[in-house]
Amino acid sequence: MGAFVRWIQKAMMSKKARCPEEEHWLELVRLMLDGQTTEEETSYVIKHINGCYRCYDNYDLEKEIRAALKKKSINLKVSDALISEINSKVKA
């Protein structure tokens, strides 16, 4: 059963299953994830991606890239010495 579902998913993800307006929907998905869509626009996007494997996959990938950027990027802390240096320069 699992293999059959995977086969269906793979078939749906083939070039034949590409969304004809993929770039347009991708732009809308990004706007939605950025919190730039209204409630009505969000419902419109969600309705489409729930019925389109290709766009759902893009949505999933977009979320994953954002999560990876946030989680895996270097996060530096300013040293106390540098903070002291800044404060002394400002007060000078």
Partner: protein, 193 residues
């Protein structure tokens, strides 16, 4: 600044600097580092930003978005001072980049992109993600940093970058396409499935 136009007294200035500006010092440092990709330059850029913020503190309205205000100063300092003396000769200005990417048939966006799956991205290491981001042109890198790492909204990014919201939107869309392509090519070269 002329004393008659001074909005704050010394105690207020110090209070704003310590309580509204310095709370963003780590975020500023990370932004500086991601722009310059050099530890010493990022420290200098951070110090310059703090100095300028204090010098022009009267133009800051208390209670407004200090983080966006500071990021704008840092971005301007980077463009005006650091970019010119940058060790990276490949950098070009925003307008040139915009013109290039708005032109038809540019190579990056017309190249076929290998498929990239979310599971692949999940399995990537921090270095792989960082390298892909760092290899992008600084103008595209900047919008991704501001939006995806620092959670700025489009209107805030518009003010920080001095560009219309429509340009923020299109630049971000292109930047994400480029990043996705870089990750996909990297994943394919490393044999990720």
């Amino acid at each position: 600044m002329d004393k008659s136009t001074s909005r704050y007294n010394d105690i207020e200035k110090s209070d704003i600097f310590n309580n509204e500006f310095m709370v963003h010092v780590d975020a500023l440092y990370n932004f500086a580092y991601k722009l310059t990709q050099d530890e010493d330059e990022s420290k200098d850029l951070l110090q310059d930003t703090c100095m300028k913020a204090f010098r022009f503190i009267n133009s800051f309205e208390r209670g407004t978005n200090a983080k966006a205000w500071l990021f704008r100063i840092l971005k301007n300092s980077f463009i005006n001072d650091y970019r010119k003396k940058s060790k990276n000769p490949g950098m070009v200005d925003y307008q040139e980049v915009e013109t290039f990417y708005n032109s038809e048939g540019n190579e990056i966006e017309t190249q076929p992109t290998p498929d990239l799956r979310s599971e692949t991205v999940k399995g990537m290491l921090g270095d792989e993600i960082t390298n892909a981001l760092n290899s992008m042109d600084v103008d595209f890198r900047t919008v991704i940093i501001l939006c995806d790492l620092e959670d700025f909204k489009y209107d805030e990014m518009s003010k920080i970058l001095d560009i219309p919201i429509g340009t923020v939107r299109s630049r971000l869309h292109r930047a994400r396409n480029i990043l996705k392509q870089k990750l996909a090519i990297y994943a394919a070269s490393m044999g990720y499935k």
